[in-house]
Symmetry: C2
Subunit: 361 residues, 2 copies
């Protein structure tokens, strides 16, 4: 590992076990049959353990979209042209994209980071310029990026996670934009999990069946070509990732090191989570999986992570949009945990008190 | 049908087809691959058709909890004592129950209606007194309620739906509270769908396996005993329902007649929706199914209704709580529909423009 990656050796933060137990004990006293709130109970309790309190809070949400272009688009593997990456970056900062609308509704801080767009982005100061490359190289032929570019892209993620900490962020959502990046994510997932590309590949933004078949062949060919050079997770990222995916990996790891819960979006974000876990296994404790994407590879990656996403709304947009949809679920879970009455407070008979009904207080 | 039920003959309102088409056309112009927002796209478009506008609104949410007791609790079919119904009614109005917390978070109007509680409820004016009976009769032995009580309970639902209209409510959520009411709902579902009780029966608030077996036998026995008298949906309601379930049926039908979208909660609410549809088939156009409950009968009733619920969070609480969880999903769907930029507004290339990339505007 080169020196620029020394920060990867920092330990992942542990959950506060005392808070976990206190929150579990509190949850068990709330006026409902035990377990009747399903996933919401663990969600609130785990959040308490992550924040080191009995009653957690979730007001300050940071959404960070990393954008980057992909040399692999030369192989005609996307339904949309590469120029759309830069156009969508503008759309993010001008409030017209799905994630912009959701961020506004959630009163979340939205940061858009150019990690490697292959076009002029406007002079808008709203786009954070962390450009490392003007698009990756075509991974059909060569590594998508150099070792140095890999380290730099991880560091961009690190920096944005640190910004979240400095802003007292209580939840980090990483989004991505990059025409061609389902090809990149599919290659990464296939290489990491040892699964056939055909099982993981999908239409992305909207390829037809013929397009998906071609995309599959392009990825299979590239995996075979670079097999000898891609024996570690880091080299796989270097060869097949986009810089925006690498930035996600870096951000996820830094959040876990510093104790910020991460809400993981769809296919591409989950592949980044897979790599974060592979590089630093304990990071996964800080990940909450937001939704099941329609992109076929997603369920395989979720299975590998033993992850149970909160939502299944048939979405496949990226941008962090599926994660943003799940924020309200977590907020509700926390409000229920914090604000429901206990059996004692409400004078409600518990199951165990079946034969000794309490008076209404 | 007796005269008090004449209102059931009023027609169910139709969707506005012009608004439906306008909303579909608008949705297709938004800056995302077609279909990438999954269920959220139809949700917003259908809401537009229900409200008769291109861009729908959802600010004014009415939650109405109907409470009633069940004579069947004499048969020891619940993990909690009957007194809990009244205790939870107090908890609802004092803000300590799950639905109270969620209503507060959603800034929704919460109305708690005593349709048939078998205990003093406090003098609190916050509980709307529409009591028809002090608990139903034990349906092991006789009809749960008289024909007149059935008509009156339907009318309570009618009245609360009318209140929602008078308050300019844009969404109606019906909740229920009644110890013993999963037994009632299971009997109703089995009788209406012709399914074996064993396939539908579940633990309710928390019976063990032995308890569930006993509950199953009690329900099977009752269905057999009353078979000859329960050949219509209305007589099935009269024999097996609780008055709170009947009030839900009445409210759902009145909402559909007057054009208020209804967000259907879990097992018991969905059984009420099944009966509403059976009595007035077109009502189902106005129903949105909020979540998949853990209660085993729920999925069978949803299948019969060809319903795809929005959420699956492992909840099984009732009170309208699962429906309240889904409100944010609908709000997000509507905000995305209303506030996202179109391709033209944002200067983003559409899929079809692949070879003629637009300039960034």
């Amino acid at each position: 590992m080169n020196e620029k990656l020394n920060w990867l050796n920092d330990a992942v933060k542990s959950w506060n076990q005392e808070s976990l137990q206190a929150a579990q004990a509190h949850q068990a006293q709330l006026t409902k049959p035990p377990g009747a709130l399903g996933l919401l109970e663990d969600l609130a309790v785990n959040f308490a353990a992550m924040q080191g309190v009995m009653k957690p809070e979730l007001d300050n949400i940071n959404i960070c979209i990393f954008a980057g272009d992909h040399g692999i688009t030369e192989e005609n593997i996307s339904a949309f042209p590469q120029a759309v990456t830069a156009q969508m970056v503008e759309n993010f900062v001008h409030g017209g994209a799905a994630i912009s609308v959701l961020a506004e509704q959630l009163n979340a801080r939205l940061v858009v980071v150019d990690v490697g767009v292959n076009a002029e982005t406007s002079s808008s100061t709203k786009v954070v310029n962390k450009r490392i490359v003007a698009g990756t190289k075509n991974f059909s032929h060569q590594a998508a990026m150099s070792e140095t570019e890999l380290s730099s892209a991880l560091k961009v993620g690190y920096e944005l996670a640190e910004q979240t900490i400095n802003n007292n962020g209580q939840l980090f959502i990483g989004g991505e934009m990059g025409i061609g990046n389902t090809s990149s994510a599919t290659a990464l997932a296939a290489a990491e999990l040892g699964l056939p590309v055909a099982q993981l590949v999908g239409p992305g933004t909207g390829l037809d069946v013929e397009g998906v078949t071609h995309k599959c062949q392009v990825i299979e060919h590239a995996l075979k070509k670079h097999r000898a050079e891609t024996r570690s997770s880091l080299t796989r990222l270097q060869y097949f990732a986009g810089v925006e995916i690498v930035a996600l990996v870096g951000a996820y790891i830094r959040c876990a090191q510093t104790g910020i819960p991460v809400l993981i979006d769809g296919f591409i974000a989950t592949v980044a989570a897979l790599y974060a876990r592979s590089i630093k296994p304990q990071t996964a404790n800080w990940f909450i999986y937001a939704h099941q994407s329609q992109e076929p590879g997603h369920q395989h990656v979720l299975s590998a992570l033993k992850a149970q996403p909160l939502l299944d709304l048939g979405m496949r947009l990226g941008e962090g949009s599926g994660a943003a949809m799940a924020v309200s679920i977590i907020k509700h879970a926390i409000a229920l945990h914090n604000n429901m009455a206990t059996f004692e407070q409400a004078g409600v008979a518990k199951q165990a008190d079946k034969n000794t009904v309490l008076e209404i207080t």
